[in-house]
Symmetry: C2
Subunit: 339 residues, 2 copies
């Protein structure tokens, strides 16, 4: 098998404009660096808190649950791995939709599990098959908002899917802070719904590797057994706790990204691109005539990275992360000459 390949990462010092990996274009809350400096002062020779208690308490308060409803991970990719390893054995089945986050398929392969892939409808809705029972089905994963489309299913529909499924449903809410709704409240009433989050996108902390999952305590207890004891380091726990405590920063950041997303979407549509309704910090753009791959390569040659994605039985397109207004202007300027 081949492993998962993330988006290109040019050297930090380069002048490349990166609109390819959905990073936040703005720096994180200044309280993050302050908290990390504080944690540095108290030393690194001791093992970190294996339960990341400080973070769990803060996140629990924010989400209106108890701390034992939360489990922390080394990025939400770690959380995804933990969930797959907890619920799925080799030879069993994991269901996910496509096109979606490519890692789900990699995780199924790594576990020796079978992937039951349900294709999105052309309008990015999901047919009834996503909720159907099949032999050996042990876990379903739904990115909501989805990548690359940025679209999402409303919580009521997700609840109906979970009720119909014969197995747990992991709702991957990596991008949810940029959206209007969330499924996190569904966890309270259905123990088979789990919701994962990351601090990489809306909290601008991709470099820190911190994610978490919200699930009922008896589920968290099972996940706990699978995670590495010390999967989060002392600095990331301190930084993540500070980040989630600064909701004012989050709101301001999200407002800024949403405004730029709206402008980016409008301008791309005026150029003739088709766009799905994005609730995330990126847009999925397809052009009726231009070659997406050539656009990607031409932009890249001029120092601007977007993500060119081709999905089997679906087609291809460009996923463009919402950057700063200057970065968006640079992109739009180049595209105007190309399409």
């Amino acid at each position: 098998m081949s492993g998962y390949t993330p988006g290109e990462q040019p050297p930090r010092a380069s002048k490349v404009i990166k609109l390819n990996t959905n990073e936040n274009p703005y720096p994180p809350s200044p309280k993050v660096a302050e908290a990390i400096r504080g944690a540095l002062e108290s030393g690194l020779q001791r093992y970190p808190d294996p339960h990341a208690t400080a973070f769990r308490m803060q996140a629990a308060e924010l989400l209106g649950v108890e701390p034992d409803w939360i489990l922390c991970g080394n990025g939400s990719d770690d959380i995804l791995t933990i969930v797959v390893r907890t619920f799925v054995d080799a030879g069993q089945v994991i269901r996910f939709a496509a096109p979606s986050y490519v890692l789900y398929d990699t995780l199924a392969s790594l576990q020796g599990a079978m992937a039951d892939v349900v294709r999105y409808e052309p309008d990015w809705t999901l047919g009834y098959r996503f909720a159907q029972t099949v032999d050996g089905l042990r876990l379903a994963i739904l990115a909501n908002p989805n990548s690359p489309s940025g679209t999402m299913l409303p919580p009521g529909e997700v609840a109906a899917i979970a009720d119909a499924l014969p197995c747990p449903l992991l709702v991957d809410e990596a991008y949810v802070d940029f959206a209007q709704t969330s499924c996190v409240d569904l966890v309270r009433t259905n123990e088979r719904i789990m919701v994962s989050r990351t601090l990489s996108k809306s909290y601008a902390l991709a470099g820190l590797r911190f994610g978490f999952i919200v699930a009922q305590p008896q589920v968290v207890e099972q996940l706990q057994k699978v995670k590495d004891s010390y999967n989060c380091d002392a600095l990331s726990i301190a930084g993540a706790t500070a980040a989630i405590s600064d909701q004012d920063w989050l709101r301001a950041n999200v407002a800024r990204v949403r405004a730029s997303r709206s402008r980016l979407s409008d301008e791309l549509q005026q150029m003739g691109f088709g766009l799905s309704e994005s609730e995330a910090n990126f847009v999925w753009a397809t052009h009726p005539t231009a070659s997406h791959e050539e656009l990607y390569l031409t932009l890249k040659a001029q120092g601007l990275l977007v993500r060119y994605m081709r999905f089997p039985h679906w087609g291809d397109g460009l996923r463009v992360s919402v950057g700063t207004d200057d970065q968006i202007d640079a992109l739009l300027g180049l595209l105007r000459e190309l399409v």
Copy 2:
């Protein structure tokens, strides 16, 4: 199954003397905090380098290999997980010795693999059975130095085991910087030998979560597919690179720990404890008459934690991490009243 349970971690602010989880009693090189502050300055909103190239270059130079012989992990526990998932499928066999690091057994369970446990001889040597072929054997793991004994097999013997085994051998060198020899040079001549290291012990960075493995490039390539893309965060990569670059600090630290280990061992022996020959930053002490569990509980009640360990078909004892001289004096003072 039950998950792996690490040693107790009292709250950081407590006055407890911790000689139970083999942390380094001294702070890391000051260059670590400096490098982390530098990485903080350059921001956290971007994903980290998925290959931790800066660290790999530095470690490669130190060990006399090329960077593509090295793979980095979120602690060496992450490395162990990656190796197990790369080589062993559910139903196949992992061999390890006992008593040893308890996590090996947890990792086998998590993978749905069978554990083939070879018991150490009473003098902590390993019988021929450790090198024998059995059906389904896909990986052998050897902690060298071993925990809890601190003893090690000489590289020649490890090479002979690897030659006889029908599968890869992972030599877990978490404690090797405190020893006189290492198996890292064996990797060059035998692609089935892999050596894992951690920065938690000798580099005093348990709080940072950073480990690595040395293996031939074609093996590293396989491991790479299994690891999370961004398993090491930007701050830990910066800190770990600074740490491994400061070999003067390492040498001074190791000299200090070894001197204290020697004094601790002598004094415990004078009190009647039996000790194995430790090459690590802890000692394994057994007493012919006193109850180890009672000693542990009495010490704990007085604010001093050592690790009480009981192993099936073997017996129990106390694993005592080498602390500062003051901490060792506190332990010895308490023990003199108890045995």
